[in-house]
């Protein structure tokens, strides 16, 4: 279901910005080839703005495209989760605030999308989401909404996983990682994975053996999870794009949970707050060293 009013506002804003030359391009959503689920859209001309839509199938985190500076200055349509991604990128000095015009959209939930079928059940992450208004924007559409929602508690599937015995965990994960074909779609789609050369592609030092086998795959996924900890905003794109359906977000959500518990830090709430791994408190113990 599409909210006509929201869509109109997006299109008007996009037209205005493109016509007065504030920006070169609008990163937004348009209806996909299956005619029901949204897909990313790159709008360069004022006359194309009518392609832009917004509905609860707009799951993609478009901030990942901001790394390509050729589009700058650019306008981007963001959900609250994607807005946090923008803060992360700003904090990591990857984008310049003045080159990005943020069209923030108040969002209740997006649904699980798969090509050719229209779903109605909200994504798990949306069920525990308590951030319905973007934390950063230049132009806000929708709202105001009741933000006094209950504090997000750790996702049930993470707690369940934690509850398992070491043996069961090993079985589960080796089962998953044995499927991995190392296509790196997870990396390509992730706004946080922007290294020029990824650890996994280095031959010397050889962090990950080139062999495609469970231990190597696990090492790769460990690197991915660790490098994203304290930076992942939980858009779930990695899991969505995984061709062999490895629940990658299960790793990221775990790391964010720990970051929250250890350092009282939530990724992307601000671009000013120092990264949890680039700061410390003298008197924290974290159960390490004693």
């Amino acid at each position: 279901m599409m909210d006509k009013n929201i869509v109109k506002q997006i299109r008007d804003k996009a037209k205005e910005l493109l016509s007065n030359g504030t920006i070169k391009c609008v990163l937004g959503y348009e209806t996909g080839t299956d005619g029901m689920n949204a897909r990313p859209a790159f709008i360069y001309e004022p006359e194309d703005v009518d392609r832009l839509i917004f509905d609860n199938t707009c799951t993609h985190n478009l901030s990942t495209y901001l790394r390509d500076k050729r589009e700058n200055p650019v306008a981007i349509v963001v959900k609250p989760c994607d807005a946090r991604a923008i803060n992360v990128l700003l904090g990591e000095r990857q984008i310049e605030r003045e080159k990005v015009f943020i069209i923030g959209i108040v969002c209740q939930e997006v649904v699980q999308v798969s090509w050719g079928e229209l779903s109605h059940d909200a994504q798990m992450r949306c069920k525990i989401c308590n951030q319905h208004t973007p934390v950063i924007y230049d132009f806000l559409i929708g709202g105001p909404v009741d933000e006094s929602a209950p504090k997000a508690e750790p996702p049930a599937n993470v707690t369940a996983m934690e509850g398992k015995s070491s043996g069961d965990k090993v079985d589960f994960w080796s089962g998953q990682f044995s499927k991995c074909v190392r296509c790196y779609a997870c990396r390509a789609v992730c706004m946080g994975c922007y290294c020029t050369v990824c650890f996994v592609d280095m031959l010397d030092p050889e962090w990950v053996g080139i062999k495609i086998a469970t231990p190597e795959n696990q090492m790769w996924n460990t690197i991915r999870a660790f490098h994203l900890s304290g930076r992942c905003i939980g858009c779930g794109e990695c899991a969505r794009v995984c061709p062999v359906n490895i629940p990658l977000d299960l790793l990221n959500m775990k790391m964010e949970k720990e970051v929250g518990e250890h350092f009282e830090f939530v990724s992307g709430l601000s671009s000013e707050e120092p990264a949890p791994l680039a700061s410390f408190l003298k008197d924290e113990s974290l159960g390490i060293g004693e």
Partner: protein, 665 residues
């Protein structure tokens, strides 16, 4: 293609006694890139080093692994040896098969040998990834900072200054002189402490190369060997020392008396004061916490008590208007090439010992208090009397090892000087009053040192001091007497002595604040808070932080001659450093690959030494760059660099991974 030579050291029996060297040699021969293996009795010996040199040349080795003692021991020795063969000294790796192997696994030769092989294997895998490294030259500040104005610090400062280098001597108290200034006489010569110390204090004050900062404290230290930047706090004295002539009319007229720290409360001082007559500088400070005028200023209507008098007598009587109520604390920033830490000691607080009265008995005093009582410039002008009633003691009991050699109060170490000063005290008491009978309760009478044993004999034979071997179980008051109950271990029976005065031979504790200072300087300290030398025998005045040296009791208990020697030793090290025109920096620093850097500058955020700055590449990307002279090679940035753009020379990811992999595959 690397050609690695492996040299396995027997270290006499130290390694060979546990590790089967020949097995290690055979195993090493099979390792990749290893073209030559040899074992030597003592690789670090001249012979051993020549062998390395010769072999490198004969076999065109371009990498060297030495299986021997800890790299913390001989890495530099072997680097020199390698360099002398024309090889870059950083193409060397040491496998620690002594401290980490033979010495700790002597109980299982087989496993120890297997481990030694692994350690060599790791070293070989790592050294294959070594690259040539080249040190840089940087300038240095030819100027030294000495922290602590006791005898050790004074000696160090004078020697450095005499060698022609500028010295800043920083002392926390209002005067230099330290503990030695509080002594009456010194063993074993019994020459008067002041007579030999004060001339040195005067030399300090007058030396053209020495800047003396008393009543001052080191707050911050940054930078590194050759170029330390130090922030010093000059506490306010409320007296302008440029105007003050030290005439003394102020402290004669000041109406406010307080217990003198210098005399351990046995006497009083004024609130504008110099701690003792021969103090250097011989100019007073105002003790702000007790000064009447300060109280007067601080007084408010609602505050209790009636308004104190305005006083300001010192100001009125001062002929040179030196009293300056407006004077503030001052921060002084200076650069130094080297630092000497000589923070000394304080005596152990004996109130922990309830059985000795826990500080409740006025006539149970410490050795240093007795020194003050015997000193002609002390509170009693050298008359030995009981603090309680001013009578002259006839029977004096000494108790040794108070705060030494006692695990119960967390002091397992011997304070070294107590046995000797007890002997000194018994002799001096006899000189003060022939009727005095001294008893000395001791555990062991330790008199190592030139003329020391003779001196101790003199105490017993000439001064007639009775030495009883044993501990004291209790002291109780019986009228004016202090009843000292102990056991005479040699006679095997309990003894009780009715004493007039009891003197506790309190041991040495490191000065207050030494831990904080050590952390500011980042040098290490042991469980007793004594500072740790770079090597207990071979580098006794150096620390693990190059450019910072140690002197005196701050390192551990020692007597005056040792302190003087220690101070001079530290001075020589400093002079050696400052006499160079440039310093060669350690090339084991971080380095950035701009191609990989994504410009997140996490490295910049974590670097404790601000050694990372930003630069823009030709294609307009901001990237991180390392300042190699500021970089200390900690590698914090490397581990924080997600794109793996930073690496640490000598500890690269390749090298460390090579070690891991070689071990597991």
């Amino acid at each position: 293609m690397s050609r690695i030579g492996v040299f396995v050291c027997h270290c006499g029996r130290n390694i060979a006694g546990t590790v089967d060297i020949s097995t290690v040699v055979e195993a090493a021969k099979k390792l990749p890139n290893v073209v030559y293996v040899e074992d030597n009795k003592y690789t670090c010996s001249e012979v051993g080093q020549d062998v390395i040199k010769k072999t490198i040349e004969e076999n065109q080795l371009n990498r060297v692994v030495i299986g021997a003692c800890s790299p913390r021991m001989h890495e530099n020795t072997f680097r020199k040896a390698v360099a002398s063969a024309g090889l870059n000294p950083y193409l060397l790796e040491i496998a620690n098969i002594r401290e980490h192997c033979s010495w700790v696994h002597s109980d299982d030769k087989e496993k120890a040998t297997a481990k030694a092989i692994d350690l060599v294997k790791m070293a070989v895998a790592k050294v294959a990834r070594h690259q040539e490294l080249f040190p840089k030259q940087v300038g240095l500040t030819k100027r030294a900072l000495v922290i602590g104005g006791g005898i050790s610090g004074i000696q160090a400062a004078l020697d450095i200054a005499d060698a022609g280098h500028e010295v800043f001597l920083v002392e926390r108290e209002p005067t230099i002189g330290g503990r030695m200034a509080q002594l009456d006489k010194t063993f074993p010569t019994l020459d008067c402490s002041a007579c030999i110390l004060t001339p040195k204090m005067v030399d300090v004050a007058q030396h053209p190369n020495i800047t003396l900062l008393t009543y001052a404290q080191v707050l911050k230290v940054s930078g590194f060997k050759g170029n330390f930047e130090v922030e010093i706090l000059q506490k306010t004295r409320l007296v302008d020392h440029d105007k003050c002539t030290g005439c003394g009319s102020c402290w004669q007229k000041c109406p406010q008396k307080v217990a003198s720290e210098f005399d351990f409360g046995l006497g009083n001082r004024k609130t504008i004061y110099i701690p003792f007559p021969q103090a250097i500088p011989n100019k007073p400070v105002i003790d702000t916490s007790n000064c009447r005028y300060i109280k007067y200023q601080g007084w408010e209507k609602d505050s209790k008590g009636k308004k104190p008098p305005e006083c300001r007598i010192c100001e009125k009587v001062c002929p040179t208007d030196a009293v300056d109520w407006g004077q503030k604390d001052e921060i002084i920033n200076e650069k130094f090439g080297a630092i000497v830490v000589a923070t000394g000691f304080k005596t152990f607080d004996h109130t922990t010992y309830g059985e000795y009265g826990g500080g409740r008995y006025p006539d149970v005093i410490t050795g240093l208090q007795l020194e003050r009582l015997m000193s002609a410039s002390g509170p009693t002008e050298g008359e030995v009397i009981r603090p309680s009633d001013g009578t002259h003691p006839k029977t004096v009991v000494f108790i040794s090892c108070v705060g030494s050699r006692d695990d119960h109060i967390g002091r397992s170490y011997c304070s070294k000087v107590c046995c000797m000063y007890m002997a000194k005290h018994t002799i001096m008491l006899k000189e003060h009053d022939p009727d005095i009978q001294s008893y000395v309760f001791y555990i062991d009478n330790r008199t190592g040192g030139k003329g020391y044993e003779e001196f101790s004999r003199r105490a017993q034979e000439e001064a007639g001091a009775l030495y009883l071997r044993g501990r004291i179980s209790k002291i109780y008051r019986d009228g004016p007497k202090m009843m000292v109950c102990g056991d005479d271990a040699l006679m095997g029976r309990p003894v009780q002595i009715a004493a007039d005065l009891v003197v506790l031979a309190t041991g040495m504790d490191p000065s207050d604040g030494v831990v904080e200072l050590a952390q500011t300087l980042n040098i290490s300290y042991d469980t007793n808070r004594f500072l740790i030398e770079a090597h207990p025998k071979l580098r006794p005045v150096e620390t693990q932080t190059s450019g910072i040296f140690l002197a005196g009791v701050a390192v551990g208990p020692r007597d005056i001659p040792d302190c003087v020697a220690h101070g001079s030793a530290a001075a020589v090290k400093v002079v050696g450093l400052l006499s160079q025109d440039t310093l060669t920096t350690d090339p084991m620093t971080s380095i950035v690959d701009p191609a990989k850097c994504v410009g997140c500058f996490m490295c910049e955020d974590v670097c404790p030494f601000s050694a990372i700055y930003r630069e823009t590449t030709r294609d307009g990307r901001p990237v991180a760059i390392i300042n190699e002279t500021l970089c200390t090679g900690c590698g914090l940035c490397v581990a924080s660099c997600r794109p793996g753009a930073i690496d640490l020379h000598g500890y690269t990811n390749q090298q460390l991974l090579a070690e891991v992999v070689s071990l597991c595959r």
